[in-house]
Every structure is written in C-alpha cells, then in structure tokens.
C-alpha cells in the first residue's frame, strides 16, 4: 500500500499537482484531441504529398493547434490554481508544513508548465515527420516552438499568480477578455501578414536583431513570470514572510538596467522605450500601489538592524502599499532618466503624451482603490478591474467622439488618463495642451497617493513601535493595519 510513482527528490507540490493534473478531464481532453488531430492531418497531408506547400501547411497547422493548447487552454487552468486552495481552506494546511508560500505557488505553476511540456514533447515526432515533406527551417521551427512554450509559461505564471487574489470577477474577466484577444492575436499572427514563415525566419537566429529581440523577449518573460508568481506568493503567505522587498529590488534593478541601456542608445528604436518601461512599470505599479500587507515586527526589525540605511530602505521597501507609493515615485524617476538624457535626439510630443497618459493610467486605479479604502488581497484585482474599466470607458468615449462632429467634449473626461490617449489619436487637440493636461493629472494623482501613503506609513510605524513596546509593558492597543 505504498506509492512509488514519483521519486522523493521532486517537489511535493509538483508531485501533488501532477497526480491531480494528469487525471483532470481538461488535460486528458486537450492531450488526446491534439494527438488525434495531428495524426489525421499528417495522414491527409501524406496523401497529398505532391503539393508544393504540403510541408508549410503542416507546419502552420501544428503551430496553430499547439498554440491554442499551450497559450490559451493550459494557462486558463491556472486561473483556479490558488483560489481553489484558498476557498477550500487547504492553503492554511499547506502553509503549516515546511513548504514555503513560494514553493506552493511555483509548484502549482511548474505542474501546469510540465503538462504543457508534455504536450510539446508529443509534438516533436510530428515535426520530424514534417521534415520529410521538405522546405523546413529546422532551427527556426524548433526555436519558435520553444518561444511559444516560454510564452505559455509566462502567461501561466500570470494566471497562477493572480489566482491567489480569490477575486471571482477577475477570474471571470480574464477568460472573457483574454480568450478572444488571444485567439484573435493568434489568428492574425499565423494567417495574415508574414504568418509563420516570418516568425520562423526570425527565430532562425541568422540576424543580430533576432538575437537581441529573442534575448529581450526571454528577459521580459522571465521578469513578468517572476513578478506575478511572487505576487501570488505574497497573497497567500503570512505577513511575517516578506516577499515584496525582493520583488521591488528586482524591479528596481531591472528599471536601472533598462534606463542605462536606453540612455547609451543601445535601443535605436526610440519609440520602443516607453513600451519597455510600460512593461517594467505596469506590474510594479499594480502590485506595489495596492499591496495589502500590514507591517509586522519580524519584518520591521530586520530593516531596523541595518540602522539609518535600513530606515531609509524601509521607506521604499517595507511591504505594503504606503511604502509602495514611495517606491513607485522612485522607480518613475529612474524611468524618466533616459528621456531626459536623450531629449535632443528624439524629442517627440507623441512619445511624451503617450508616456504621461500611460503613467496616469497606472496611477488612476490605485488612487481609486486607496481612496475607497479597500482592504484585503482583492485590492490588486480591484486595481486591474478599475484599470480595465477606465480603458474601456475611454474607448467608448472615443467611439462616441468619432460619431460626433467634434471631439471637444472629451476635455470633460480628461481626468480619466486613458482619454488623453484617445485625444492624442485625434487631430483636433494641440500637443502642448495635452502634455500640460497629462502632467497636471499625473502630478495630482501622485500627490494624492503620496498624501495618503504618508499618513498610513506613519500610522503603521507608530503601531509597530507600540506593539514592540507592549511586549514589556501592557497598555491599550492601537490598530496597526494601514
């Protein structure tokens, strides 16, 4: 009556998830359907092997089905990964073992990713068979498969991380919004334009741009994956476990590295700079400005041991949203550096307006969440939902503007930062006016958040000091929750 299906050296979480996951109907259905479809397609293609395009057609079909399986279906399975444990009250029982919250989250993630890997491995024989049809760029197709798999791992990290928030709305919105967008993007990428051929050529690594592009893609995927897994970890960990300091440090180092690379003109496509920083800052803002983590004595004391430097570091790196606001202000300053340095070479109003509007779009939902004094781990999901809602509202307003003779009424909604992006795309607004409006709104949002943060930061520091002194001296309590 003993189990010997998995060796001891494997992570307990991975063993558990594989035992459960390999029996789930969704995985079995995806796996068998994919095999059946690919088998039928190859047989059909063999029968029509005289066609010149048989090989590339097989490649296209393999990539489409593989992408649907690992970029849409597998990541969607992560949406319930941690929420089911939280809802079932089993997360507490796991936390009480020697498993750290990080191992629990990565175990969940690695189980889904290893099932995706299983699907990847089963694709390879079909690719080898496809080789006989000729015209195959072997390295390009293998690297492209790897990229799709890597993207799948990143999207899975996003869904697994966010699943810890337990927000039913977010878990419903993700598939509703994500599925059509993902399916549409796949369809566009694989059937129109250059299609798979261009991607395969890019992945063949014959050009310097391919190496740079792939390296940046891998770095961005790793950063996003880590960030969301770490966020999920914070949401299920006890308050004494501090994961946010490491997360912020990594974001800070990444931002500095990006600022240096952009400042020394490694990136020649200047329009990519706002995109790079949006990628770095968006997850940082979403998590740091909403993080619900009361400051507790074990975490506080670790900082205090470092003396004045620790106190200064605490201002930016303590867990919780009040220090998160200070940290976001700091990282924004870092992000502005390359713009400031390179102003003469690529000063462009469009880039400035877009960057300022994006910054406001990231700050606006945080201001709402904190003004409404939302509590608990759902703050981050509320942030995302508010952000999505404000973008949708801006699109609706832009649509109304298109149907009217004048878009001037959009000035009434300029306080909603995504509206500035809609106004930018219209020719009726002066760039200077838009820049001024965006600067004023961003400054107002930052000022509001800083005021709220300063008040709560002081309250939590006072609370923790009271709590520490209470160990020796019994007196009436003050709440420490920011």
């Amino acid at each position: 009556m003993h189990l010997s299906d998995f060796p001891d050296r494997l992570s307990p979480m991975l063993v558990k998830e594989l035992r459960q996951g390999l029996r789930t109907k969704s995985f079995i259905a995806v796996f068998l359907t994919l095999q059946a479809l690919l088998g039928i397609i190859l047989l059909t293609a063999s029968a029509a092997a005289t066609s010149d395009h048989a090989g590339s057609s097989i490649s296209n079909i393999i990539f489409i089905f593989f992408s649907i399986a690992v970029l849409i279906i597998q990541p969607l399975r992560g949406i319930g990964a941690l929420s089911s444990e939280v809802k079932g009250n089993t997360i507490d029982m796991m936390v009480l073992t020697r498993l750290s919250a990080w191992r629990i989250v990565t175990g969940k993630w690695s189980a889904i990713v290893s099932q995706s890997a299983l699907i990847l491995v089963t694709i390879i024989p079909y690719l080898i068979l496809r080789y006989f049809f000729g015209g195959m760029n072997l390295l390009g197709e293998i690297v492209l498969l790897g990229m799709i798999f890597f993207t799948s791992a990143t999207i899975t990290a996003v869904t697994v991380g966010l699943s810890a928030s337990g927000s039913i709305i977010l878990r419903s919105v993700l598939p509703i919004v994500g599925l059509p967008i993902g399916a549409y993007a796949l369809l566009m990428l694989l059937t129109f334009g250059g299609g798979i051929e261009d991607l395969v050529e890019f992945c063949a690594l014959e050009r310097k741009e391919s190496w740079i592009g792939l390296s940046m893609f891998l770095a961005a995927s790793a950063y996003l994956g880590f960030f969301f897994l770490s966020t999920g970890t914070s949401l299920i960990a006890t308050y004494a476990e501090n994961h946010s300091t490491l997360r912020r440090l990594i974001a800070f180092v990444t931002a500095i590295a990006a600022a240096i690379l952009c400042s020394i003109s490694t990136i020649t496509d200047y329009e990519a700079i706002p995109f790079v920083f949006a990628l770095i800052l968006a997850p940082v803002f979403a998590v740091s400005l909403t993080e619900f983590a009361p400051l507790v004595s074990p975490v506080y004391l670790k900082f205090m041991k470092l003396g004045p430097l620790g106190r200064l570091a605490g201002l930016f790196f303590f867990p919780g949203w009040p220090s998160g606001v200070f940290f976001c202000a700091l990282i924004t300053i870092v992000a502005v550096i390359p713009f400031a340095i390179n102003v003469p070479s690529y000063y462009d109003d469009d880039i400035t307006i877009a960057s300022l509007a994006c910054l406001g779009t990231l700050l606006f939902p945080a201001a709402l969440v904190n003004l409404l004094r939302m509590k608990g781990p759902q703050r981050v999901s509320n942030y995302i939902l508010f952000g999505l809602a404000s973008c949708i509202l801006a699109m609706v307003l832009a649509g109304i503007g298109d149907s009217m003779s004048s878009r001037d009424f959009l000035w009434l909604f300029v306080w909603l930062p995504p509206v500035i992006l809609a106004m930018q795309s219209s020719s009726g607004f002066s760039d200077d006016m838009l820049i001024t409006a965006a600067v004023v709104i961003d400054a107002a949002l930052f000022a509001l958040l800083l005021i709220l943060a300063q008040h709560n930061f002081r309250a939590s520091i006072n609370g923790i000091k009271d709590s520490l002194s209470e160990d020796n001296d019994s007196k009436e309590p003050e709440p420490t929750t920011p």
């Binding site: 001891d8 459960q20 507490d92 073992t97 006890t238 004494a240 309590p477 709440p479 929750t481």
Partner: protein, 349 residues
Amino acid sequence: MSDSAITVHNLYRFFGPLQAVNGISFEIPHGSVCGFVGANGAGKTTAMRILASLDYPTMGHAEICGINVVHHPAEVRRLIGWMPDHFGNYDNMTVLEYLDFYARALGYKGAERRQRIDEVMDFTDLVPLADRFSNKLSKGMTQRLCLGRSLLHDPQVLIMDEPAAGLDPKARVELKHLIRVLAKEGKTIFISSHILSELGEMCDSLLFINNGRIVHHGDAESLKRSSDALGGVLYDVQLDGDPQALSDWTVLQPNIEFLESRKTGGRIRIDTEDPSKAADILSRMIRDNLRVIDFHREQRNLEDAFIDILANLEKDQNFTHAPPPIPGQPATPPPHAEVPVTVPDSTLP
C-alpha cells in the same frame, strides 16, 4: 522547555473596527486537554489561528511551548497540529496520496515517510479507505483524514477548531475516542466546540470566550459552581393540556423564570434552593388550575452554566457606561468590564 504548552498574554486582534479578540490571557499546561467554548463570532477561530501562526495579533503575544508564534512561526509549526473548522478535499486524489503529499511536504522521505503514513492510517482507521478519492469521503471519514494529516509529524500540541461539527453520533464517538487516546499519550489538546457536554467529559479545563474576551477558565465543576453561585434551581414541569399555560402562568409569578418550552410543558428556574419554596410553587400551580403531571428538579448542565455566566456578564455590562467608540477607532474596553481569568489548581503546572 516552557512550563506551559500554550501561553497567551494580553492578545488583541482587530479587523478594522471589529474587535475579534480583545485582550485575552491564559495558559494551558503540557499534557492537558482544554476546551474552547463560545458562540459563533466570539473570537475562537481567530485566537486559534493566531496560535497556529496563521494570523497575526494586533497586539500581545502568544507562545507554543515557550516559542513566540509571531517571531518564530516555522518552529511553532513543527510543534503544532492544526485541524481547521472546515476545509475542502482535493479532486482526483486518493486518501493515501493525500497523506503522502503532506508527509512529503513535512520533509519525510523514503521508508520514514511510509512508516509515518502507516502509523497514522492505523491510528485513524483509514487503511480500508486508502484508495478512495478523498473528496468522496463522508464528513466523519474526512475528519479522521484531517486528524491523520495533523498527526503526521507527531506534534506536541493539537489545535482543533470545531472538529465535531457536522458529525453524526457514531463519528462523534469515534473522534472523542481518538482524542482521549491522544490525551493519554501526553499531547496537549486545545479544542473548540459548541457541544459543551462533550467537552465537559473529555477536557481538563474549559475556556469560555465571549465578544473576544475570556469570561471563564476552569474545569467543568468550577464552571457549575460559578453558575450555582449566581443562584437558582432548575425544574422540569410537565402538564396535561396546553403547555403554553405554564409560560403564561410564570409571567405573573415573582422569583420564577420560564427558561424554555418543551413538548408538554417547560423548564423553569426558581431563585432559591429551599425545597419548601418549590413545594409552595407546586401548590400554587395546582391551585391556579395548571394540570401538573410531573414536577422534578433538574441537574444543571454546562450549557445552563455558560448561559448563566453570559447573562450575568450582560447584566454587569448594562450597568457599565462605556464611552461611545470614536468612528474608525477601536473602542477601549472599560477596565472594570474585564472578567478575571480563574485557573483551577488542577490545571496548574
């Protein structure tokens, strides 16, 4: 090693304006079984979660075997076994796989892991269920599985939150038996329940919590004595005819309180122990045309004692003119509303 298995000192836990735990202090000696009693929302689960290092106190401290639960949660987790009040089981996982996962998670490897799983399955009688899916078990079996899981690392202290809730009588008896065996093995057990009679049978001491405050700590007998001191004797009265007549009649009688209606009568409290007064009351009932067919004194049980203590506390608090709480700030408890914690000699280390 610390003198007490569990030490709680001046523990507070606030959720915004809600004071879930409001300055509780108590000690539980090694090897004893302590029942934790209180109504829903009294603060039992919050206090137990803090002890299990799953929640964080707003103020105060708690220790397991002398180790602070906030500063050293990892060490505390090696010492405790935790049974939550409700939990879900995993889909597509057998009982054996469930225990295997937790044994791996607790760091057991190879033969040692297999041995621990065997021991726990034998103890909780889970061997016949080894290949059953864990989410297809009955409530009683699930509780045995949960107990088995919490015993895998042979903890010194077991914290059990409402383990008997929802169990049928047979499963309840089985669970009680297992707890008795564990107590005999010298484990410290901190167990919460609504069923006071069961706790009274198996606990060395009982800890009563109300509105986040400890209102009594002592053994079952000391609880009854405290309640007796509040005065009154309980009588069961059975009538031939409309049982409503009894409650109508008691409304007009001084020194008699109608406690609860029963199928053919009701339960009353007379505020004196003098038997002649009871005889007088019976005479008055008959004189007032109540057709009494049974009138006998009832033994006061733990539920009565608990309700008496709560009623008395409520009475005291009505005389307390506490200042209104400031919006957004927790109310400060008046010092004289604190009920002193009494620890019986038998439970002292």
